[in-house]
Symmetry: C2
Amino acid sequence: MSSAIDLREIALAEFATAGYAGTSIHRIADLAGLSKSSVLYHYASKETLLEAAIGPAIDRMEAMIEDLASHSLHGAARARFLTGFTEFLLEHRLEVHMFINQGSSLVDVPVVERANDVVRQLADYFASNTASTEDKMRFGIALGGAAYTLCMQQSLGIEPAPVEETRAALVTIMTELLAPVHIRPSA
Amino acid sequence: MSSAIDLREIALAEFATAGYAGTSIHRIADLAGLSKSSVLYHYASKETLLEAAIGPAIDRMEAMIEDLASHSLHGAARARFLTGFTEFLLEHRLEVHMFINQGSSLVDVPVVERANDVVRQLADYFASNTASTEDKMRFGIALGGAAYTLCMQQSLGIEPAPVEETRAALVTIMTELLAPVHIRPSA
DNA sequence: GTCTATACTGTGATAGAC
DNA sequence: GTCTATCACAGTATAGAC
């Protein structure tokens, strides 16, 4: 029973809620009905498990940013990015939660530093392509606020609205929030 | 040297960046130029230190919410709340950072549970006084996004704009974001 | 008020039997 | 692939000298 994939999901959920430092291998093993050693048979170390848990989501976000850098962020391209980002949040809530909760505490862990780089790239992109402080904050609040609100709903036990409704609201609000922002065409 | 107040501030900074579970008393002691035992002379336990670090900020936020519940959130009252909230974020960046990073991981610690209650109350207030899912998310994104963006700037090492500029931008954006939201007069 | 020494517990990781 | 046993170490906290 309890395949490596199960462990990945159990670990992700625990890391997201109890934190990386706050989650012991023992705890993960218990939840999986295994012993510590069996967990370490599937994943050589705690850090390996962390990498397996959040790596794929980081890969996906890296690809989105790659794509972003090669287009100017106007009209259809902007709309595509916002719906894509929303979809990412909805599909990777736990990874995002884990990152929000632990991103700054695990600077020495490579896979987390990759995640921090992703956010930094996003921030740099908007910082270098918008003029005013206010516009930069619009991006921060739109993207960060969407991510954070979604995670807090979950961690505070607030019952969420239907996914379709949440998705629509997020896209609407982010679009509206960024409407006044002018992104320089030649990034 | 190294009074209890110094320890509070050192601990707060470390908890915010490295996390509560990720920060050892030894580490705090080193930064203060003391031994573990001396730290534990000033604060009976690690948890006591945490309480001293974030307690005052929670008190203040509790007072703001108390005030909020006794007024309807329109016109001048709404503006007052938004500037007050912004001021709170600017003056308690580290406490907010600590909460964002660790709020969900420390559910069993009383002082953190108080902080979680504060956010829950805020969410409840807006949830029960606004009609649509979209309006609820507007509040989440406005308040959560402002808090999160401010903290991320710091933790990612992005150089922040002048405080006055940041304050103005936050108030402008939050006000605009919540403009379409109707709060029922009789809460 | 600060220290060293110590007790106790939990944790990540390894060795080796089955 | 799973287990028990074990190790080495870090962590919180206490006792007691100075």
